[in-house]
C-alpha cells in the first residue's frame, strides 16, 4: 500500500501527533494543567469563594429577570408588527410578480416537471442545491473528525473503550417487539423512501424528503437488529464511495449544463413527456444523488454518536474495516 492509500483508507491519521501532545504525562501542558487544578481546588475550599458564589446568585436576580422580560417583549412586539405589514397569504406582491409568473407559466415547458417545486430546486436554482449537498457532506466530515473513537483518543474517566464498543448489556436488539415489527416495517420504509426519491418530478417529494426517509429506515434497521447486521451492507467505505460519486456526478452534470447554457449551445438532454417517471431532463438523476447523500449523512450522524464510527469495528483492531 502506498502512503496515499494508507491515508485514504484511514490507517494513518493526519491529526495524530497534534492532538495527543497535551495528553502525555511528560509534556509541559500537562504539568501546567495539574498545577491549575490544584490551585483551583485550594480556592474552592475557602469561605470567601463560597460566599461570593452564593451572593452572585441572589443579587441582581430581579434586575436580570426584568431586563430579560422587557427585551423579550420588545423583540416579540417588533417581530409581530413587521409580520403584520407583509402582504396576505396568497396575495399578489408587485415586487416579485415577474419571477412568480415566469416560474408558473413557463415552468412546465422549460423544465418538464409537473411538480414545479422540484423543477425550481433542481433546474432553475440547482446551484443552491449543490451548495446544500456539499454543506451536508462537510457536516458529516466534521462530525467524524470530532467524534471518531479510536483506541488512541478514548481516554476519559467515566467511559471505558471496550464497554462502549461492545455495549451488549444495554443492547435491545434481542427484544421481541423490535424484531417482529422491524422485520415488517424496515422493508416498507425502504420501498417508500425509494418511491419518494424517484417520484420527485411527478408528485410531491424529491431528493431531500426521500433521503431523510431512507436515513430513518437505516436507523430503525440498526436499532432493531443490532449493529452487526448493518455493518454487513453499510461500511465506511460504502458511505465514502456513495457520497463521493453522488456529489461528483452532481457537480459534473450541472457544470455541463451551466457551460452549455451560458454559451448558448444546445445541451442534448431530453425532457420527455411530463407525468412519466423518465421526464424532466436531469431532475431524476440529481434527485437520486441528493437522496443518497442525505440518507448516508443521517445514518452517519446516528452511528457516530452511538458508537464512534460509521461502519465496522475497525477501530477495535487498529485497522480500517475490510
Amino acid at each position: 500500500m502506498t502512503s496515499f492509500e494508507k491515508w485514504f483508507y484511514g490507517e494513518t491519521d493526519v491529526l495524530n501527533h497534534a492532538m495527543d501532545e497535551a495528553r502525555e504525562p511528560d509534556s509541559p501542558d500537562h504539568a501546567r494543567k495539574e498545577r491549575v487544578k490544584a490551585r483551583l481546588a485550594e480556592i474552592r475550599e475557602t469561605e470567601q469563594y463560597r460566599e461570593r458564589v452564593e451572593n452572585s446568585r441572589k443579587e441582581f436576580r430581579g434586575l436580570y429577570l426584568a431586563v430579560t422580560a422587557v427585551g423579550a417583549i420588545a423583540l416579540i412586539g417588533v417581530l409581530l408588527y413587521v409580520t403584520a405589514c407583509l402582504p396576505e397569504y396568497g396575495a399578489e406582491n408587485p415586487h416579485t410578480l415577474e419571477v412568480i409568473t415566469r416560474y408558473i407559466e413557463k415552468g412546465l415547458e422549460e423544465t418538464g416537471a409537473v411538480n414545479i417545486v422540484s423543477g425550481i430546486i433542481l433546474d432553475y436554482r440547482a446551484f443552491d442545491t449543490l451548495g446544500e449537498s456539499h454543506v451536508l457532506f462537510t457536516a458529516l466530515i466534521c462530525s467524524m473528525l470530532l467524534l471518531r473513537l479510536d483506541r488512541k483518543n478514548m481516554r476519559s474517566d467515566h467511559e471505558d473503550y471496550y464497554t462502549v464498543r461492545t455495549d451488549k448489556f444495554f443492547d435491545l436488539s434481542a427484544d421481541q417487539i423490535f424484531r417482529r415489527v422491524g422485520a415488517f416495517l424496515v422493508p416498507s420504509i425502504f420501498i417508500f423512501g425509494i418511491y419518494v426519491v424517484l417520484n420527485g418530478q411527478v408528485s410531491p417529494g424529491g431528493g431531500f424528503s426521500g433521503g431523510a426517509i431512507l436515513g430513518a429506515g437505516l436507523i430503525l434497521f440498526s436499532a432493531s437488529f443490532g449493529f452487526e447486521k448493518v455493518d454487513r451492507i453499510f461500511t465506511r467505505k460504502v458511505s465514502s464511495i456513495i457520497t463521493l460519486c453522488s456529489l461528483g456526478f452532481y457537480s459534473f452534470a450541472k457544470g455541463y449544463v451551466f457551460f452549455t447554457g451560458a454559451n448558448g449551445i444546445e445541451n442534448h438532454i431530453p425532457k420527455g413527456t411530463p407525468g412519466n417517471i423518465l421526464s424532466g431532463g436531469m431532475i431524476l438523476p440529481l434527485d437520486i444523488a441528493v437522496g443518497l447523500v442525505v440518507g448516508c449523512t443521517m445514518f452517519g450522524f446516528y452511528s457516530l454518536f452511538r458508537r464512534g464510527s460509521i461502519g465496522g469495528n475497525g477501530a477495535a483492531t487498529g485497522k480500517s474495516s475490510k
Binding site: T46, N115, G205, S209, A212, Y302, R306
Partner: protein
Amino acid sequence: MEIREIFTILLLIILILCAIAVNFTKNLLSAVVIFMAYSLIMAIVWAMMRSPDLAITEAAVGAGVSGTLFLVTLKKVHLEDKIVSDLIEIDLDESEEETAEVGEGAQV
C-alpha cells in the same frame, strides 16, 4: 372561512405553548420530547398551507431524525436524567482557565 381560521388559530396556540414549555422544563429529556411534539404539529400547519414537499420533509426530519439525534446526543454526553439546575455546577467546574488566572493573580 371562519371554521378554518378557528382551527388554524388553535394549532398556532398549541405551537406557542410548546415553544414556551421547551424553555421552562427543568428536565432535559422532556424538553426534547416537547420539541418533537412541536415538529409534529408543524406538519399539520404545512399541510393546511398546501405545501406538500415541506410537509413530507417536516414529517421525516422533525419527528424521526432530528428528535432521534437529540436523544442520542443526550445519551452520549451522559445527561439523560440531568435536571437543568444541576448544570450550573458543571459550568463552574469547566471554566478552569479563567478562574485559575484570576485566582493566581489576586489573593482571595
